[in-house]
């Protein structure tokens, strides 16, 4: 098998961001960026948008509405019981359950959405092009078949922008 991926390793987040903007401007397609900690700028610079927060809001809204409707149905419509002389629609006491169930709904639904979207499941082998990205290095990975040379040399750009190492590697990205 051939070495199908090009990997640039950076030891500084500012160098990584400079290189990222440069290769994007030159028209190269970045396959993935691995960083030791989450960086929102990377997502923004790669031109990717997430609708995840909106999805989480919808889950929360549906969870809250659903559990309130359920409690209203059980306590008021289907089986009204007089306890402590309170109205059957004991709304303030529903709130606590609503908050808890809303949190549970958002957490679980978001987890499953993320797993589906990112194609992550228990037992899946993790793709880690360069182990040092779990320590202190910032790693930018290009798929050589996609990142065609657009008139300039990709390796030179990465080195010029401060990559401490640029090498090619065989990666299995599809299972």
């Amino acid at each position: 098998m051939s070495k199908n991926h090009l990997i640039g390793v950076f030891d500084d987040e500012n160098a990584l961001m400079a290189a990222l903007h440069e290769v994007k401007a030159k028209g190269f397609e970045i396959w993935e960026v691995f960083t030791p900690y989450p960086m929102h700028e990377v997502i923004e610079a790669m031109g990717k948008k997430t609708r995840f927060t909106f999805a989480a809001f919808i889950y929360g809204f549906l969870g809250a509405a659903g559990v309130l409707a359920f409690m209203y149905y059980t306590a008021v419509i289907d089986w009204p019981i007089n306890y402590g002389g309170k109205p059957t629609n004991a709304f303030p006491s529903f709130i606590v359950v609503t908050v808890v169930i809303t949190i549970l709904t958002v957490t679980l639904a978001s987890l499953f959405t993320f797993s589906l979207r990112a194609k992550i499941y228990p037992g899946k082998a993790y793709i880690l092009p360069d182990k040092r990205s779990t320590d202190d290095m910032f790693v930018m990975v290009f798929d050589k078949s996609v990142a065609k040379n657009a008139g300039s040399n990709l390796e030179d750009i990465l080195r010029e922008k401060g990559a401490i190492e640029v090498y090619e590697k065989e990666l299995v990205t599809e299972i």
Partner: protein, 387 residues
């Protein structure tokens, strides 16, 4: 960077006019209805004191958590803290209005009411004022030490002042937890002398922190729009809006917990508090209170598109200052006056106290450079950047 802020003529005249109008209306309201006047005095003084206390808690929290991002704004909470001694003096005036506000000071009530008799070892006028003086001494000493360390740091530099401030902050937070809890019990909760709630002090402590933070945010934004704090960026705004968002949830949590437990328990000794607050016009205030102090900040600061927007944050902060007034109105007025009133005395007292507060705040802010000089985290704050 060396800029000391100069108070504009407009600002100074505004504070004078507010104080003059306030003084006239305050005098008028003492002659017409002194019960109402004393309730207003307590409300406004406690409200601006709670903003000062909240600001001092904010600054102490930044020190003990060694937060870097906020260090360039720390003159704002420092200047807000300078109201505490004045609040102390005005609180002592309450001695002349005890009978108007506190039912437990009436001799005939003490003679016949077993609950008041039972509480009298704690709730009596001499001990009430001894406690008040002790609380104010504790707050004045610690805020003074924090301010002095901050100014000395400007002059001499070095890490020692930061470590000193961190040490004072630990003591301040510890003392504040105890003293402010008892202060709220004494000044606000004892108005309803038969009623008690252990969540009460926590709720009011959070409210002080919440509205103190909102005031800091408002002042920072106004100064930024006037050309100061040029380094204020989206990351600072996001941190500020997280503070308000987080505190809106905590405030809602405590306010609702206190209400829900009492509503659910349904014991007459406890529900009488909300019975007073649910008749006639007060019920509207009860709901509007939750709307302003929890729902609107929560919903407006939730979407990412809005929570970094400087104007959204500014108007939420303004709304929250009104929210603090409303929250205290709901706590003080139903028992003292039994019906909803809003008129010249309320406007006059608020104007007078706002003028005094702004006057003291402005003087304290102008007396030191707006941005501290030798704070160890200053560079981090000036180039604050969130990932």
């Amino acid at each position: 960077m060396d800029t000391k802020i100069t108070l504009s003529k407009g600002y100074q005249y505004t504070t004078y006019v507010l104080m003059a109008v306030g003084a006239a209306l305050i005098a008028y309201s003492f002659f017409t209805d002194h019960n109402r006047a004393w309730a207003n005095l307590l409300l406004n003084n406690y409200m601006f004191l709670s903003i000062a206390i909240g600001a001092s808690f904010f600054i102490a929290l930044q020190y003990i958590s060694q937060s870097g991002w906020s260090s360039m704004f720390k003159r704002i909470p420092e200047a807000l803290m300078s109201y505490i001694p004045w609040a102390g003096i005005i609180m002592l005036l309450l001695y002349f209005g005890m009978h108007s506000i506190y039912h437990w000071t009436h001799e005939d009530a003490l003679a016949t009411d077993p609950i008041i008799q039972h509480k009298s070892p704690y709730l009596n006028i001499p001990f009430f004022f001894i406690r008040m003086v002790l609380f104010f001494i504790a707050w004045m000493v610690l805020t003074r030490l924090l301010r002095k360390a901050s100014l000395a740091e400007d002059a001499h530099g070095g890490l020692g002042y930061f470590e000193k401030s961190e040490f004072y902050s630990k003591i301040h937070i510890f003392l504040l937890a105890i003293t402010f809890s008892f202060a709220t019990f004494d000044w606000i909760m004892s108005i309803d002398v038969h009623w008690f709630s252990t969540l009460f002090s926590l709720k009011n402590f959070v409210a002080a922190f919440y509205h103190g933070s909102a005031t800091i945010v408002l002042i920072v934004i106004i100064l930024h729009q006037k050309g100061y704090f040029k380094e204020l960026n989206k990351s600072h705004l996001l941190d500020f809006s997280r503070y308000i968002f987080m505190l809106s949830i905590v405030w809602g949590y405590f306010a609702f917990s206190q209400f829900m437990l009492i509503w659910y328990g349904n014991i007459p000794e406890e529900t009488e508090y909300f019975a007073h607050r649910w008749h006639s016009g007060f019920k509207v205030i009860f709901y509007v209170n939750f709307l302003i102090n929890w729902f609107i900040p929560f919903v407006l600061l939730l979407p990412q598109a809005l929570n970094k927007n400087i104007n959204v944050l500014k108007y939420v902060a303004i709304l929250l200052i009104a929210g603090q007034y409303l929250d205290l109105y709901e706590q003080i007025f139903p028992t003292v006056l039994h019906h909803v009133v809003f008129g010249l005395p309320e406007i006059g007292f608020f104007a007078g106290f706002a003028g005094l507060f702004l006057f003291i705040f402005g003087k304290a802010l102008a007396s030191a450079p707006l941005v501290p000089k030798n704070h160890p985290y200053l560079e981090e704050s000036l180039h604050h950047h969130l990932h």
